[in-house]
Symmetry: C2
Subunit: 515 residues, 2 copies
Amino acid sequence: MKKMTESGSPFLFFFSFFCLLIHCLPVYSAKSPPPRFPSSLISPEDKISLSARQNQLYRTKYFTQVLDHFNYYPKSYESFQQRYLINDTFWGGAKSNAPIFVYTGNEGNIEWFAQNTGFLYETAPQFKALVIFIEHRFYGKSIPFGGKKDVAYSNSTTLGYLSSTQALADYASLIIDLKNNLTATDSPVVVFGGSYGGMLAAWFRLKYPHVTIGALASSSPILNFENITSPYSFNDIVTKDFRSESENCYKVIKGSWQQIEDTANQRGGLELLRKSFKICKNYISANDLEGWLRTAYIYTAMTDYPTPSNFLNPLPAYPVKQMCKAIDDPTTGNDTFAKLYGTATVYYNYSGTATCFDLNDNSDPHDLGGWQWQACTEMIMPASANNEESIFPPSEWQYKNRVSYCERAYGIEPRPHWITTEFGGHDIKRVLRRYGSNIIFFNGLRDPWSGGGVLNNISESIVAIVAKKGAHHVDLRFKTSEDPEWLEDVRKQEIKIIAKWISEYYHDLAHDQLS
Amino acid sequence: MKKMTESGSPFLFFFSFFCLLIHCLPVYSAKSPPPRFPSSLISPEDKISLSARQNQLYRTKYFTQVLDHFNYYPKSYESFQQRYLINDTFWGGAKSNAPIFVYTGNEGNIEWFAQNTGFLYETAPQFKALVIFIEHRFYGKSIPFGGKKDVAYSNSTTLGYLSSTQALADYASLIIDLKNNLTATDSPVVVFGGSYGGMLAAWFRLKYPHVTIGALASSSPILNFENITSPYSFNDIVTKDFRSESENCYKVIKGSWQQIEDTANQRGGLELLRKSFKICKNYISANDLEGWLRTAYIYTAMTDYPTPSNFLNPLPAYPVKQMCKAIDDPTTGNDTFAKLYGTATVYYNYSGTATCFDLNDNSDPHDLGGWQWQACTEMIMPASANNEESIFPPSEWQYKNRVSYCERAYGIEPRPHWITTEFGGHDIKRVLRRYGSNIIFFNGLRDPWSGGGVLNNISESIVAIVAKKGAHHVDLRFKTSEDPEWLEDVRKQEIKIIAKWISEYYHDLAHDQLS
């Protein structure tokens, strides 16, 4: 079987957080829910205040943001409208210096993150916190160049302003301005983020300690750069997830890639595959099918939540277990394709409304497309699949393939060393054990991204919370009545730490005001 | 007497560190000394190793630096040659992880700073440190756009890349690359800087703790932005300096501005002034003369060193005292202009070679001219003179005057809030008391810039060293046999603290290597 590489395979291309690009998001995902609290999940007391605000999670606002924070030529003075979502239902107000909880938006429509990050809303009442979700530049409605995505995304000259450092400076500028407008300059700000948003939250605390007192960085693989952590970790964890459910499940999937290719190479094989997987269109290739399945496995592993969810797609509780149930189902006997089809429907058709599937659907309901640019500039996170154990076909990360893709796509080269130059990562324990404070790194070990996360405490107040059974930023999701105890414990730990940050801040503030 | 404002007066314009722009640097300053150790100041042991290297302070090298670290459009990929000076005479080498001392260059030719920053060279032997001075982009020989200053300085489109954040990213990139090339990745880096270079050193520790283990920020007025400290502090300290020598000295200077203007307004008055101050050219104005004198007072206050020096100009020890001696000199009786001329010669003609003076000399031997751009973009440091006590005529800082100047000069507006947005400054004690580590803020209280400095300890390892009798980064200067005890003490304290940083680092390194 041929090795898959970035250049050789249309899928497997960019390991992004929520977007494998070619299969950026699969078809038939339910539409995003309206921006409302899941009413079953909130206390009666909260319900009252929420109903007074038409049950809304947030109001939408815009901030006039500078295009380029770091340079001063005339073009860099251009501005754009940056969207942010605000909920002041629970806020204790500026006079009491009540806290501000800020979600540092990541690579997508901010409403989508707000709807999937209940932790801020559910924790706000006890802290009387103002809740803000800030959209990342170049995503959602926060598009420079007149808000016109076709202009902003047209080429590298306009896309050039899409970078993590600009995004962090956006957050600093917006938060400072907002606090001034609210005359809330002494309100402590706590930042939160998941995934790339978690990286931004951690980096924001490291770069802007004067703007935030602490960061909860959930599932943020800040060590997934250069050679800091193993390039195999991502695929190894996906492998482990499936294997933990059943050895047979792992073996069937691992063996299936060869079977798909063998079948595709036989006369009539592609048609057989097309029918086996209910592919809508006539066209099918082994590569496309493999990518489609791989996407399902990866995202299911990432979102292997203990309760039913609808983040990327509607999914049952413990969806990896459900996939393996489909494979281990004795009624499908030795029919590998029927078994695989069973796994695919867990991810692509849990709602049961699909009658056929489109392998090459490029719809992007959560507006994740800008990640391709980020993956061509600074987000160079090596990911390989080892030869022996991997559930996926072996693959080796080749930087040169990324380069040639990016040169073709945008006419630019990545800067693979920039993230570690700007934000560090190497020897993080040595660097931060006597430096900085107030960061929580949460990781769930079933999350493939956890391999690049901070899994050990660095100092007394830069701490790791690790949940063996957790998936991708599960801690930040809305509570449900079925949440397992370990998840409740994680949130309790996080809240306790955040409470300590805020209480220390008030102590220091009172001390300063006396002196 | 009319109030002087930024727009109203050709001098007083930009309070920069070493450059009042219109009188950027006065005439007849001695040429920069050659880049050699002052041989009387080094130990016999050091002399040997130095003579082996032709007694040189440094070798000159260049690094290919990225033009724009934060954006990714094609132009931003351009590079330029950044100069750095290196001295490995004392270095213990990569194998023993011997330290690297880096001077974060400020707004001028880096050779000038290297020649006036003996502290690194003199401290290097005991730490077996490699010594590096990095030149700030757009100064000296580190000119983007092909090294052509006429192109780089031609307009805001090219000057736009001159900013503090770009400079810090330059330092990070260069240091990381240099360490890789020397296979010295585990060598601890300590950064040093004076004045704006001290601001950069402190900010570098705050923004790049993964690149440096600590910073000695000497005379760095990082609190001189917005309304963090009083806009009057600079002029108040100049006033206090002269007043501390003699009340008469202060009174004569304070009264002289009116006298100069009155004289200038009389028939033949300008000619009288021209002759009194030995002005070379026919043209003279009260404004120009006042600016010329003011420059002398300010720079003399800044460089009121306890030993003879030649930083901005050749000066005697305690030059403020010498100026006041000239004023209090009974032989000049009531002749104010003769007294003022006496002060001017202390600053402008200590070497005794000048026969007349040019008030409008714009020569810039230390290549400080780029500061004007920085003062029009991010370096907005308000400076006023109060009405009652100031030795200078009253003046009020008016931001709008800066704006209109910068619009005329470059067609751009300053961003007065950027520095505090990016680097903080407000409530610095509250922000950093539980965050960060390993910064020494040195200030000499006779230095007018000390009013914007950090004068109190922030935490156990972010500390202030304050020398009541100290001037602008006096601690960083080459030792002399006449140094007063307080200065020796300051340096001893600094060395002790730096030794602690390095020792802690080695402790942590050994711990990591064992684990």
